[in-house]
C-alpha cells in the first residue's frame, strides 16, 4: 500500500460519516414536521436500539462471546448520564454541549463496568460466560433497585433533556434527534473501522478458533476484554440516549428481557453484520409499534411475544445465520453494480463539467 493510496483511503472515508449525519438531521426535520410526538419518540428508540444492537454485535457477532448482560451496561450508562444531568456542576455547560457529552460520560461508566466484569469472567467460555454476564446484569439491576440516590424502585423521574437552540431554529426534538443520530453514526463508524482494522482481525480470529488464534500469538483474554469494554462503552451511550428520550428510568426496564431483546436483534440481523443489526433494530422497533400493537388492539390478545418467538424459530430453521449472515450492505452484488454505475455516471458528468476538477486518484481508477 503506497502512501498516496493510504491518504486516498483516509480522505475517501472521512466525509461520509459527516454526510450521513447531515442527511439524518434532514430526515429529522422531515419527521418533526410530518409526524406526531408518539411517532417521533419511536424514531428516537430506533437510534438507541441500533446502538445497542451494533455494540452487542461486536462482542457476540464478531468476537463470538455470548453475553446476556447487555442491559446491565445500558443501565449503567443510562443512570450515570441521568444522574449527571441533575448535578449543578454539569448545568454550567451550554445545553447542547452538555447533552452531546452526556452519552460519552454514560459510556465511560459502562466501559469501566465492562472492564471490571470482563477481566475475571472473560476467561470463561460459552455457557459459563453467558451465566456470568446474566448474573452481572441482575447485580446491576438489584443495586439500582436499592440505591436511594437514583430513586430505588420508584425510579428516576423528570430527567432533563436538551432544550435545543431555538434562536437558531433548532427545536428540542430536532436537537435530540441530531444528538442521537450523531452518536449512532459515531458508534457505527467506530465499530466498523475497528472490525476492519488489524485489531478487528484479532477479534475475528478469536471468534473463529481460540486455540488457533492463541497459537498465532493472539492474547485471547485481552482481545475479549477489549471487545467487551468497547461494546460496553457504546451500550452506555445507548442507555444515555434512552434515558434522555424516555425521561424516566426504573430498574424494571433493565431486566433480563431487555438483554434478550437486543440479542434477538443481532440474531435476526446476522451475527457479524452491522448492516443486519441496523436493519433488525429498525424492524424490531417499528413492527411491534405499528403492526403488532394495532393487531393486539383489534384481537385483544398479546401476540407480540408469540410472533417474536415464531420469527426466531422460523429464522433458526430457515436461515440459521440471520438475515444477512456476516455480509454487509457493500457486499451485495447489486449494490456493487449500482455503485459502479453511479460512479461512472458521476465521472462522466464531472469530466464533461470541467477537466480541471478531475482528481488524479479518480483518473487512476
Amino acid at each position: 500500500m503506497t502512501d498516496q493510496h493510504a491518504r486516498g483511503l483516509f480522505l475517501r472515508s472521512m466525509p461520509s460519516p459527516f454526510l450521513v449525519t447531515a442527511a439524518l438531521i434532514l430526515l429529522g426535520l422531515v419527521i418533526e414536521n410530518s409526524t406526531n410526538a408518539y411517532t417521533q419518540d419511536v424514531v428516537l428508540w430506533i437510534f438507541t436500539n441500533i446502538i445497542l444492537a451494533a455494540s452487542l454485535n461486536l462482542v457476540s457477532g464478531f468476537t463470538g462471546q455470548f453475553s446476556l448482560g447487555h442491559a446491565g451496561f445500558m443501565a449503567v450508562g443510562a443512570y450515570l448520564s441521568a444522574w449527571c444531568s441533575f448535578r449543578p456542576e454539569f448545568q454550567a455547560l451550554p445545553d447542547l454541549l452538555r447533552f452531546t457529552l452526556l452519552p460519552a460520560i454514560g459510556g465511560l461508566g459502562a466501559a469501566i463496568a465492562g472492564y471490571i466484569v470482563g477481566l475475571p469472567s472473560l476467561r470463561l467460555r460459552g455457557d459459563y460466560l453467558a451465566i456470568v454476564t446474566l448474573g452481572f446484569g441482575e447485580i446491576i439491576r438489584v443495586t439500582l433497585l436499592n440505591t436511594e440516590a437514583v430513586g430505588g424502585a420508584r425510579g428516576l423521574n423528570r430527567i432533563p433533556a436538551t432544550e435545543g437552540w431555538l434562536e437558531m431554529g433548532l427545536s428540542p426534538y430536532l436537537a435530540q434527534f441530531s444528538i442521537a443520530s450523531f452518536w449512532t453514526v459515531v458508534t457505527i463508524t467506530t465499530l466498523w473501522r475497528i472490525v476492519h482494522s488489524q485489531k478487528g482481525r484479532i477479534f475475528l480470529s478469536v471468534r473463529e478458533d481460540e486455540i488457533a488464534a492463541e497459537a498465532m500469538g493472539v492474547n485471547v483474554t485481552q482481545a475479549k476484554v477489549r471487545a467487551f469494554v468497547i461494546s460496553a462503552f457504546f451500550a452506555g451511550v445507548g442507555g444515555s440516549l434512552f434515558a434522555h428520550s424516555v425521561k424516566y428510568l426504573s430498574p424494571a426496564t433493565f431486566s433480563f428481557t431487555k438483554s434478550v431483546d437486543i440479542i434477538i436483534m443481532i440474531v435476526l440481523g446476522g451475527m457479524g453484520s452491522f448492516t443486519g443489526s441496523v436493519i433488525a433494530a429498525i424492524f424490531i422497533t417499528l413492527v411491534p409499534e405499528f403492526v403488532l400493537r394495532p393487531l393486539q388492539e383489534i384481537t385483544k390478545v398479546d401476540l407480540r411475544m408469540v410472533i417474536y418467538s415464531l420469527i426466531l424459530i422460523l429464522f433458526m430453521i430457515m436461515r440459521p445465520t440471520g438475515l444477512l449472515g456476516t455480509r454487509e450492505w457493500s457486499d451485495f452484488a447489486w449494490v456493487k453494480k449500482l455503485m459502479r454505475a453511479i460512479s461512472q455516471l458521476l465521472k462522466r458528468g464531472s469530466d464533461g463539467d470541467s477537466s480541471s476538477s478531475t482528481s488524479p486518484s479518480g483518473a487512476s481508477r
Binding site: 475517501r12 410530518s34 408518539y38 411517532t39 436499592n146 430505588g152 426496564t253 479518480g362
Partner: protein, 399 residues
C-alpha cells in the same frame, strides 16, 4: 454543498456514490414514514368525546389493568346509555403498556398527540403514573390516576389528579381506628425500612396516634424479604403493647402474624394498610392473622346501597365477576371525569381540568370524594377485619 464538492475532488467517485446510495435509502425511508403517519392521522369526529386510558392489560400485573379497565368501561357505558354528555357519545381508547414505564409514557404521548383525547385515565402503579404524567402535564391534558397512592404522582403538575387516598392517609385512618374504635392506648410499630410505603404509613401513624393521646411503646423494623421476625417480636412483647401496627405487604405480614402467635401474643391484634389486601395473606398467615384489621379503599362486604348497586351492575356486565378495589376506583375515576365534563362550559382540556379540580363531595363507590388543593382525593377509607377468606367490613373512617 461545499463539502460535497470538495469530497468529490479529493477522493474517488465511489465515496460520492456511496453517499448518494445512502441518500436514496434515506429518502425511501422518509416517504415510508410519511405514508405511515398519513394513514395514522385521523380527524376527530365532532360527535364523540374521546377519553384515553393506559394500563397494564398484559404482563405480570395484567389483573390490575384489566380490573380498572372494566370499571371504567362500565361507567362510560352507563353514561352513553343515558344519552352521553351534552348529546355526544363518549369513546374510550385504551392502550396497553405491558407494565413497562417507557411504554406507559409512549402510550400517553400517542393518546394525546395522535388520538387527541380530552383527558387521560391511568395508571394503577405509581411508577408508571410517574413516567407518563409529565407528558400529560406538558400537553396540558388532565390525567386522573385511579389508584396510584404515591404522594409524588400529583406533585408533577396541576393537570394530574387522583381519586384514591395517598399512602400517609392510611396511617391517619389506622391511628384513628386504633384510638377511637378499638380504644387502645399502647401500640408498637413494626415497619419495613426498605419500602417507602411502609415508612410513610408508620411515620404518620406514630404522629397521629400520639396526638390522640396514645402511646407508642416501641418501634422495630425489618426489611422486605426477611423470613425471621422473632427478635423484633420478642422486643415488642417485652413492652406489652395492646396492638401492633405492621404497615407492610401481605407476605411478610402473614409470617409476622404466625411468629407473633408462636411467641404467645395471642390476643394482640395486628393493624395494617392496603398492602395486606390479597388472598395470599390468609394462605400465609392462616389462623394467626384472623381478627386483625387493615384499611382499604373499598370492600364488597359494605352495606352502602351505592356499593351494593355497583356490585350488582358489575356482575351483570361481566358474567358474575366480583369487582375488586381497582375496578371500583376505575369506575369512580370515570364517573368523576364524566361529571366534570358535564359541568364544563366547553369541552376543552383546560375547562375539564378546572372542573375536575372543583370536584366536591362526589359520592362514589369508594366513598365521598373531594379533590383538594394538591389534587389528591380526600375521602373515606374502610377498615376491614380479616375473618376468613372474605374480609369482614368493620367501619368507614372519614378524615
Amino acid at each position: 454543498m461545499l463539502q460535497l464538492k470538495s469530497s468529490t475532488r479529493c477522493s474517488n467517485s465511489s465515496a460520492r456514490s456511496r453517499f448518494l446510495h445512502l441518500a436514496l435509502a434515506i429518502f425511501g425511508a422518509v416517504s415510508m414514514l410519511q405514508l405511515a403517519s398519513c394513514t395514522k392521522k385521523n380527524a376527530q369526529p365532532s360527535h364523540v368525546i374521546k377519553i384515553g386510558e393506559y394500563g397494564s392489560f398484559t404482563g405480570s400485573e395484567a389483573t390490575f389493568g384489566v380490573s380498572t379497565n372494566e370499571g371504567l368501561k362500565l361507567a362510560i357505558k352507563e353514561k352513553n346509555a343515558a344519552g352521553g354528555i351534552k348529546g355526544k357519545k363518549i369513546e374510550l381508547i385504551s392502550y396497553d403498556n405491558q407494565g413497562k414505564p417507557e411504554e406507559a409514557r409512549a402510550m400517553v404521548q400517542r393518546l394525546i398527540t395522535q388520538d387527541q383525547v380530552l383527558a387521560v385515565i391511568g395508571e394503577v402503579a405509581s411508577t408508571r403514573s410517574l413516567a407518563a404524567a409529565p407528558v400529560a402535564q406538558q400537553y396540558k391534558v388532565p390525567m386522573i390516576s385511579p389508584s396510584s397512592t404515591n404522594p409524588q404522582v400529583t406533585e408533577i403538575g396541576d393537570y394530574i389528579f387522583r381519586v384514591c387516598f395517598i399512602d400517609p392517609f392510611q396511617g391517619l385512618v389506622m391511628a384513628k381506628f386504633a384510638r377511637e374504635n378499638l380504644k387502645k392506648a399502647k401500640v408498637a410499630i413494626l415497619k419495613d425500612v426498605k419500602s417507602d410505603y411502609s415508612t410513610g404509613l408508620s411515620d404518620v401513624f406514630e404522629r397521629e396516634f400520639k396526638a390522640m393521646g396514645g402511646e407508642i411503646v416501641g418501634i422495630e423494623s425489618y426489611a422486605s424479604g426477611d423470613t425471621d421476625f422473632k427478635a423484633q417480636l420478642t422486643q415488642i412483647k417485652g413492652k406489652k403493647p395492646e396492638a401492633i401496627f405492621v404497615p407492610g405487604y401481605y407476605t411478610e405480614v402473614g409470617m409476622i402474624a404466625r411468629q407473633a402467635r408462636q411467641l404467645g401474643m395471642k390476643d394482640v391484634p395486628l393493624l395494617g394498610g392496603d398492602g395486606w389486601d390479597s388472598e395470599k395473606l390468609w394462605e400465609i398467615g392462616g389462623e394467626a392473622i384472623k381478627g386483625s384489621y387493615f384499611s382499604n379503599h373499598y370492600t364488597t362486604e359494605s352495606d352502602n346501597p351505592k356499593v351494593v348497586d355497583f356490585i350488582k351492575r358489575y356482575r351483570e356486565e361481566y358474567k358474575g365477576k366480583t369487582p375488586d378495589g381497582l375496578a371500583a376506583l376505575g369506575y369512580d375515576a370515570g364517573q368523576i371525569l364524566i361529571a366534570a365534563m358535564e359541568r364544563a362550559s366547553e369541552l376543552t382540556p383546560q375547562a375539564i381540568r378546572n372542573e375536575i379540580a372543583k370536584t366536591k363531595d362526589f359520592v362514589g363507590v369508594t366513598g365521598q370524594i373531594s379533590i383538594n388543593d394538591q389534587r389528591n382525593a380526600t375521602k373515606s377509607a374502610v377498615v376491614v377485619q380479616v375473618a376468613d377468606k372474605v374480609n369482614r367490613f368493620v367501619t368507614t373512617i372519614t378524615p
